[in-house]
Amino acid sequence: MANLTINGKSFTLDVEPDTPLLWAIRENAGLTGTKYGCGIAQCGACTVHMDGVAIRSCGISVAEAEGKKITTIEGLASGSTLHKVQQAWIAKDVPQCGYCQSGMIMAVAALLNEKPKPTDADIDEAITNICRCGTFQQVREAIHTIASA
């Protein structure tokens, strides 16, 4: 059993303590917006926020996540108002297949929390998610659009 706080809600989940947070989120909490890509913290498709910091949820256990505030892509919007990153992603038509974009958006949202006006170098350093479709150009443009708003 694990007690997790995800998107402001408390979940008591029937999982072993060493279960990766990713699978507890997807299979036990039923929030499938967070994606499995590699399972070894390489690709970033599973990125969520833990106490406001972007982390790769496949690489940490539910035991490590207990007592922390977890935010997934489903919890990024405020009610019916999409987060500025989600809005920019729609306005700039960023996603292609979209599979990596939950993780990409969570990584970008965390970056903008920390640095509201990131430089290209900041983006290069902070955004290390893999996108096989190759949306990087639109990702960068959308970040700058948000920063200059």
Partner: protein
């Protein structure tokens, strides 16, 4: 959608042969232009025809048979239908018909296959006619109600007007009547220069759910009572499953069943996938690896190298003059040997499918690039007839050719069949996905070029040795043993023709098929052929002491479309003006998938092995551009895919197995490594080419040629990581 459709009449039906839907399934292509009986969508709204459903609130539902995997065809195809329909784009939504529905209606939606950059180009004609036919019928219905000639009515954004009497109505109000009309025998399509919806860089129709986590991919399917399966197939291709010790995992949490899948795989079925995977990892498995376990990259390379020898048999794909005599009599000749490795598609979403099997039905939910091939696989794997099977397509988390295969679907059905009544979702781990791909084929190429005393290229001998995709996947498409697709990009004519005229030319292929299964990997054979030809063109230019662009131009007089895209790229990158200090340029062009493309790169190199790509320019002539914003994204994405393969890709074989198991050993470019791609679209009209793949061909040679310009060193082997060359 309504699965109980009325029989339609007055249709032209064509019986066509298709390998895609499998043997024993006799079906025809029924052109979808309406008929007397009203067919209804699932919500009861009338179908004006198979492509167009109009709801009473004027929402237009456009049916899309091809699959969306990020390439944007769903939006592009909807634009083409909407353009002819003259509906309100803001009221357009889309819907996938199922392959089962299509077969039940004599393939009313035509081909579902989404590969070979054909999504738009090979269905644009009939989907546009679908839109145009519906428009004519909707206007006719209004005219009938008003008792005026249809010719006096006009339509704009789904609002029909009879100017003389001042009356207006909307598509939603007349759709019911329109659906009862006999469709016109023929319709005239718009000249693309008059397009107002197609040809515009409209936003995609499928973006919002991709930003909120709401988009459902195959991996996200949830069905009542569903269990989850993890699988291991024999790590040596062609090997078998010998035994496994189920007792070792009995009682592990959540485990429901251990099942054999075919003769080479075992799966654990559990309540959650994490439990299934954990138990599978703990399951002792004995494989019968067979003779293929003796194969390695070294043995493959040696076998392929033997095929470069002229004494070995080879298929001739493109030939003129007498290349051997011309080389023998030449003033100067140069030779080079290149190679290209296996590549995994590495879609971000690993392979998966969910199957529900009962005695009288088998349904599958999955991402697939070919709904009909998936449907045929379900029929075969379930043993049930067509009317008892169906495939529900969902968004693909990447395709790149991998999801045109049906291996994962067959496995899912084989598992579900052993658990009747229980839906089972099979998900491959990334490791399973990396080691059980359908890989970009492995090849080598020896090229010999010969010059006369004035440094004119008089002969080119291009001898390819390596794997054939068609030999493995579509042997019926071989021509007297030859794989015509092996010459993609260097063919004599057709949709992937060589752009150079050389008086004595010989392009041939010594086919060698290792046991590693090949597949259609985005760009397919154009990828390595473009590297070989375009890097060697650069070598030839330098051997002749000529500028690489000028050298090419002299050989391209008979291929003005190839030349036009090359010129467009050269102009945009400023080829004739010096590059910034320390920056060097490379250029390449190729034809593939019916389109003409060229690319140029500006790079700098530090310490001889750290490459910074500063700038990429790419041009394309696909005939017509349906959505320039999406074409731009396909061009940029092609560079990410092609350069990831060049720098980080490459799958090696040891003991018959693929060695790379995850993104730590099969890496992919990140945002910091990728510059902006400046795309130049030069559509010349009169033909329809594809855009999802051809540009990949020019990505690697543009950078490799720039690397030579920077360092004076030729790189003739991919990937660069094997040569300790990486991004700066």
């Amino acid at each position: 959608m309504n699965k109980h459709v009325s029989p339609r009449m007055n249709r032209r039906a064509f019986v066509i042969g298709t390998a895609a839907v499998g043997a024993g399934l006799a079906i025809g292509l029924d052109l979808p232009f309406g008929g007397p009986a009203v067919v209804r969508a699932a919500d009861g709204s009338p179908e004006v025809n198979a492509w167009v459903v109009v709801r009473p609130d004027d929402t237009v539902v456009i049916r899309i048979a091809r699959s969306e995997m990020g390439q944007g065809s769903l939006t592009g195809l909807a634009q083409l239908v909407a353009e002819e329909l003259e509906c309100d784009w803001s009221k357009v939504t889309t819907e996938y018909p199922t392959p089962g529905q299509s077969v039940a209606r004599k393939r009313v939606w035509g081909d579902f296959s989404t590969g070979g950059s054909r999504g738009i180009r090979s269905s644009q004609d009939y989907v546009r006619k679908g839109g145009a036919t519906a428009r004519v019928m909707l206007i006719q219905a209004a005219a009938d109600a008003w008792k005026v000639p249809a010719s006096e009515c006009t339509v704009d954004k789904g609002v029909i007007t009879h100017k003389a009497s001042g009356r207006t109505t909307t598509y939603g109000k007349v759709a019911e009547a329109a659906a009862k009309l006999t469709p016109p025998a023929d319709v005239k399509l718009k000249d693309p220069k008059d397009w107002t919806i197609a040809g515009k860089g409209l936003l995609r129709l499928d973006t919002a759910d991709k930003t909120t986590g709401a988009m459902v991919y195959g991996i996200d399917i949830k069905l009542p009572g569903m269990l989850n399966a993890a699988i291991k197939d024999c790590p040596v291709f062609g090997g078998k499953l010998k035994s496994y010790d189920e007792a070792k995992i009995t009682g592990m949490k959540g485990v429901k069943k251990v099942v054999k899948v075919g003769d080479s795989a075992v799966a654990v079925v559990a309540d959650t996938w994490w439990h299934a995977k954990t138990a599978l990892e703990a399951l002792p498995i004995v494989w019968d690896e067979g003779d293929n376990a003796k194969v390695s990259s070294e043995t493959i390379a040696k076998w392929l190298a033997e095929g470069l020898d002229d004494a070995q048999p080879a298929y001739v794909g493109n030939k003129n003059g007498d290349v051997k005599a011309a080389i023998a009599g030449a003033a100067k000749k140069i030779e080079a040997v290149y190679n290209y490795p296996y590549q995994n598609h590495a879609t971000m979403e690993p392979m998966n499918a969910t199957a529900l099997y009962t005695a009288d039905k088998c349904e599958v939910w999955c991402g697939t690039q070919n709904g009909e091939a998936a449907f045929a696989a379900v029929l075969e794997a379930s043993g049930l007839p067509a009317e008892k099977c169906d495939v529900h397509k969902v968004m693909l988390g990447g395709g790149f050719g991998r999801r045109g295969m049906t291996d994962y679907i067959r496995q899912a059905v084989a598992i579900a069949k052993q658990m009747p009544g229980t839906p089972v979702k099979l998900l491959w781990s990334r490791e399973e996905d990396m080691t059980h791909g359908r890989y970009h084929p492995v090849t080598q190429c020896k090229m010999t070029g010969a010059f006369d005393a004035d440094n004119n290229l008089v002969a080119l001998h291009y001898r390819l040795s390596g794997q054939s995709i068609l030999f493995s996947l579509r042997p019926e498409a071989l021509q007297n043993g030859m794989d015509p697709a092996a010459f993609q990009g260097v063919a004599q004519s057709g949709e992937a023709a060589l752009g150079y005229s050389v008086p004595n030319l010989l392009i041939e292929h010594s086919m060698r098929n290792p046991h590693v299964p090949p597949g259609f990997w985005r760009g397919v054979n154009v990828n390595h052929n473009a590297i070989y030809m375009e890097c060697f063109m650069d070598e030839l230019a330098h051997a002749a002491g000529q500028d690489p662009l000028e050298f090419r131009r002299k050989l391209m007089g008979k291929n003005p479309k190839h030349l036009a895209v090359l010129n467009a790229v050269a102009e945009k990158i400023g080829w004739t003006t010096p590059a910034p200090q320390g920056v060097y340029r490379g250029i390449a062009q190729v034809m593939g998938y019916g389109s003409y493309v060229a690319g140029a790169a500006e790079i700098s190199v530090t310490d001889g092995n750290k490459i910074k790509v500063h700038r990429i320019v790419a041009s394309t002539d696909p005939g017509y551009v349906v959505n320039p914003a999406q074409v731009e994204r396909q061009i940029a994405g092609s560079f990410v895919y092609g350069l990831s393969a060049l720098f980080y890709g490459g799958c090696t074989v040891k003991d018959g197995k693929i060695e790379q198991t995850n993104f730590d050993t099969f890496n992919s470019m990140r945002i910091n490594e990728m510059p902006k791609v400046e795309s130049v679209m030069v559509p010349s009209g009169g033909f329809w080419g594809g855009v999802g793949e051809p540009t990949i061909g020019v990505a690697a040679p543009a950078v490799l040629n720039a690397y030579f310009a920077a360092t004076g060193k030729r790189i003739r082997s991919v990937p660069l990581r094997d040569q300790n060359i990486t991004f700066a």
